[in-house]
């Protein structure tokens, strides 16, 4: 395919660059129907289509390159857009109106749009090209950094701006001892003022990063062509295995320079208000463009605006006069977990302006609002707590409805702030990435609809909280069709009214139409779990037996063919050779499939329901007890081998893991609970991916909470540091009971913590500082659990009545279920599903 395909009736638009702005431009063309009447060719240097560069760092928290893609599946095909990956434009012949790509293909254009973006600026210091020097711009850069970091222990980032701190966070996340070297006297010099920079510095140093401000890089020291350190302008030398340059970006304007387009003195393709270059057939948008106000915009929102402008111009909508004359430089970011926002006149450059400042260096919070003589809000800086950004930014230029002091004071201090999204005018821009007003959002009824119809909330995401508050409240937060209360409300009702049965709760607090009914498969196990958390008796006696999911009912996990798996508890993953032999013998004697689980224990599959008591008799006799793999309860506390054996260990992690697993075993909770204890900062037990994770320090234990693996991984947050054994246990007691009390059904600690109003700070207030005066009660509840715990399997085996349910057929107690069949695979068994499927053909 090449240039000769073009005809007079189908004009060709060539887009050079497929980054975020390029993709936005394509969407804007499609929205206007231009893709139907023009051939669109896109030349992209990178090997993958446009992705979310703003969220690049989230690659290190588990996002895959596919997650970051900005291109909806089928978009290019649907609109007939030709995308050439890994084939950048090499030259432009403006006279002939052709672009030549690296592959040698030549494309004729009627309109050319340059969206080449920017390149990282690498200061010209000796050694900058050594092995171990990187920039931080593309997914490929990230992959290279990740690979190199495997053999490194220390990393340094040159540049303490926005991207530099992102890069530093990534290195820290890769387990490196991390340094940040910034030439300016403070971090993020462009966005925040001195006070904000100082708050940021303290918080970041507290996370264990070393920050060197007011310091330049003079040389990258190398040995055998690889980085070994850096020489700094203050004469000091820093040992490091790798260097990431993140000292700003420069517009990529070489292609424009080479073909004679006007460029700015300090770079950038000069454009007018319609983003047209000195050649009327050529446009430039995004970070490569020097806008008509003389600035190069390095943020995505102005780039999107330029993309819209050019698309409108091409679609002949120029008449509306909405050109690009400059943009709002407001930003809100989460850097290394710290909120940083700046908006409007953040540095107070307006003549006669005044500051209102709140600064709390203990908690690393700094807030400054810039106000003019008439009380109008001009701008501000928020560090450490940027919750109000979504409201304050749209208020810029107007007199806020409450005083500036109230706006900067933290919630709970002084008068309550009565400022909600309802205070915003209709034309307030809520989403600045996509320029969406409050009015436009008001037309929608759900967040999903807002995102689909207006794109609001799909850029940086900082406005999502405000959007949620603007939407009509979800009308029914009830647990299910039987209860209009949430799980945590039902927990409080059952606790305070001392309700001990499902029937009583349904008939007194169920929806009117559900009273006297059966309940359902959602509320029965939920209430069963609440009653078990509160009352702690044997979960299968009396009415409770009818509430449990089948797994709890048979104290085993049902597998796809109706057979069960059996998991004995192996606390901390520590097991004697004799214990291993017993498990092996049981599995062999009952013909079970065995597999080691991720939680450091052994799962035995393929037991028929009537075999469970015999299997457990053997296990209980050998000292094993239920592992609660079937319950919404504590699963395992993993551990590394710890100080006892490991040369790096600083505490006995195995002993602590066993202590914790035995303490919390059997505890019924809104969802399963996982934990781990690592004996040193190397974190071999992966504690930060657990609901509560413990990492040993030289002085005690650090407690992390709210971590998760699975489909939506989340790193746990540090709740408290350097705890003694007793302090650690007390804090976990409080944390778990507070979670059990307030979480929704099937809500893991990670989502619960994300949802908890006030987040980690609130959690700390409640469980560390006892701000609600709840801690005594939470500890007492846990003490009752620990005192009353009994092994469910031992209890079951002791009671012939309880054993009666373990039959395949009530009318033939000895008969095995003939439909549960197995076939061999890799010297073990597997379910014979062909048998189940064949049998099934008859019943449709």
């Amino acid at each position: 395919m090449s240039a000769d395909m073009t005809t007079a009736s189908t004009p060709t638009i060539v887009l050079v660059g497929h980054g975020m702005v390029g993709q936005r431009f394509l969407e804007a063309l499609a929205d206007r129907g231009v893709t139907e009447r023009a051939r669109i060719v896109v030349l992209c240097e990178e090997p993958r289509p446009a992705y979310d560069r703003v969220q690049l760092t989230s690659y290190f928290s588990g996002k895959t390159p596919d997650d970051l893609s900005m291109v909806e599946a089928g978009f290019l095909e649907k609109h007939g857009i030709e995308l050439y990956l890994g084939d950048p434009a090499e030259s432009v012949d403006r006279a002939a109106r052709t672009v030549t790509a690296r592959s040698g293909q030549v494309f004729a254009y009627d309109t050319l749009v340059l969206a080449t973006g920017s390149y990282p600026f690498v200061p010209p210091v000796p050694g900058k090209d050594a092995r171990g020097c990187f920039v931080y711009r593309t997914i490929e850069d990230l992959l290279a950094i990740e690979e190199y970091a495997k053999t490194a222990t220390t990393g340094a980032v040159v540049g303490g701006g926005l991207l530099g701190l992102e890069a530093a966070g990534a290195l820290k996340g890769l387990g490196l001892e991390t340094h940040v070297v910034e030439f300016a006297p403070r971090l993020m010099p462009v966005q925040v003022d001195e006070g904000g920079g100082a708050a940021l510095l303290r918080t970041i140093e507290r996370m264990g990063l070393s920050v060197h401000v007011g310091t330049g890089t003079q040389e990258v020291v190398t040995a055998d062509g690889a980085v070994t350190g850096m020489k700094l302008s203050d004469g000091s030398e820093l040992a490091t295995d790798m260097v990431v340059f993140s000292a700003g970006v420069r517009p990529r304007d070489q292609l424009a320079r080479d073909c004679g387009l006007d460029v700015g003195e300090r770079g950038g393709i000069a454009v007018d208000e319609r983003c047209r270059t000195s050649d009327p057939a050529v446009f430039a948008i995004g970070e490569c463009a020097l806008a008509s106000d003389g600035r190069v915009y390095g943020l995505v929102a102005p780039g999107y605006e330029m993309a819209q402008t050019v698309a409108a111009t091409i679609a002949d909508e120029a008449g509306d006069g909405a050109g690009f004359t400059g943009a709002d430089m407001s930003t809100k970011l989460k850097l290394l977990g710290v909120d940083v926002a700046s908006f409007g006149d953040a540095h107070g450059a307006t003549e006669g302006c005044l500051d209102v400042v709140y600064s709390d260096s203990r908690s690393g919070v700094y807030k400054k609002l810039v106000i003019d003589g008439e009380g109008r809000l001009l701008g501000g800086v928020l560090v450490g707590d940027a919750e109000q950004y979504g409201l304050l930014r749209p208020l810029t230029g107007s007199v806020p409805p409450v005083s500036a002091e109230q706006l900067v004071l933290p919630a709970g201090a002084g008068a309550p702030v009565a400022l909600g999204p309802s205070a915003l005018p209709d034309d307030a821009v809520i989403c600045s990435c996509h320029n969406v007003t409050k009015h436009a959002i008001g037309e929608c009824s759900s967040l999903a609809e807002v995102k689909k119809c207006t794109k609001a909330g799909t850029g940086c995401g900082s406005c999502v909280k405000v959007i949620e508050k603007l939407l009509p409240a979800a009308t029914d937060k009830g647990l299910c069709r039987d209860f209009s209360y949430t799980r945590s409300e039902l927990y409080e009702i059952a606790r305070t009214l001392r309700i001990t049965s499902f029937a009583a709760l349904l008939d007194s607090h169920g929806r009117d139409e559900a009273k006297g009914g059966e309940g359902c498969e959602v509320c029965k196990p939920t209430v069963g779990s609440i009653l078990a958390s509160l009352n702690n008796g044997y979960i299968l006696d009396g009415e409770q037996a009818s509430l449990q999911d089948t797994n709890d009912h048979f104290l085993a996990n049902m597998q796809r063919n109706g057979s069960y798996s059996v998991v004995p508890r192996i606390p901390g993953g520590e097991i004697t050779p004799d214990g291993l032999i017993v498990i092996g013998e049981v599995a062999r004697d009952f013909g079970l499939y065995t597999k080691i689980t991720g939680g450091q224990r052994i799962d035995m599959f393929g037991a028929r329901v009537e075999q469970l008591p015999a299997i457990w008799t053997r296990l209980v006799d050998a000292g094993f007890e239920s592992g609660h793999a079937y319950g919404k309860s504590l699963r395992t506390v993993k551990s590394c081998v710890g100080q006892t054996w490991c040369r790096y260990g600083v505490q006995d992690s195995v002993k602590m893991a066993i202590q914790l697993e035995l303490r919390y075993r059997g505890l019924r909770s809104p969802h399963k609970l996982k934990s781990a204890v690592s004996g040193c900062a190397r974190e071999c037990a992966e504690a930060q991916s657990k609901d509560f994770g413990i990492i040993a320090t030289a002085n005690g234990w650090n407690l992390y909470v709210g971590g998760n693996g699975g489909a939506t991984p989340r790193h746990a947050d540090l709740l408290a540091q350097d705890l003694s054994d007793a302090e650690l246990v007390r804090l976990i007691d409080r944390f778990l009971m507070f979670y059990i009390r307030t979480a929704d059904r099937l809500e893991r600690t990670s989502t619960w913590l994300e949802r908890l109003e006030g987040g980690l700070d609130h959690l700390k207030d409640v469980v560390v500082h006892d701000s609600l005066g709840l801690c005594d009660e939470l500890e007492a509840l846990m003490a009752a659990h620990v005192a009353d715990y009994q092994d469910e399997w031992a209890q079951t085996l002791d009671d012939p009545d309880r054993l009666r349910r373990f039959v395949s057929f009530v009318n033939a107690p000895e008969a095995p279920d003939p439909s549960v069949r197995f076939m061999p695979e890799r010297d073990q068994i597997k379910p014979d599903l062909t048998f189940l499927t064949l049998e099934g053909v008859t019943s449709r």
Binding site: G517, E518, C520, K524, L547, D549, H553, N561, F809, V810
Partner: protein, 119 residues
């Protein structure tokens, strides 16, 4: 608090009709926990899932979960919606009306229903 007594003076038996005009004994009615089910093996090798609700009413449907082929419906949780009883499969949670056998989550799917009586 009331407790269920496991011995009663007169024993009520639960019977099921696996095919027209024939009845078989399943078990004593007291074996069924209200809100739960048991499985019964029928003379021809089929399996029935027999349930008892809070009000003491009995139901029987085929034990086979048509979505997975596994004989497990007797181990599901029962509930009610608009006054009609259902069981939710313990595997993938599809619900089946206990009176008609109709799947509430897929119009195309139905399981067999067996008449039951107490003697």
């Amino acid at each position: 608090m009331t407790t269920l007594t496991s011995t009663t003076l007169t024993t009520t038996m639960l019977e099921l009709s696996p095919s027209p005009d024939s009845w078989m004994t399943v078990c004593e009615e007291s074996r069924l926990t209200p809100g739960r089910g048991v499985a019964a093996l029928l003379p021809d090798g089929r399996q029935a899932a027999v349930f008892r609700d809070r009000a003491g009413r009995m139901y029987a449907i085929d034990n086979r979960d048509p979505f997975t082929g596994a004989q497990v419906l007797s181990r599901g949780l029962i509930g009610s919606v608009d006054g009609r009883p259902f069981v939710a499969s313990p595997l993938l949670k599809q619900r089946f009306d206990l009176e008609t056998g109709r799947c509430l989550d897929d119009d195309e799917v139905t399981v067999a229903v067996y008449p039951v009586r107490s003697i």
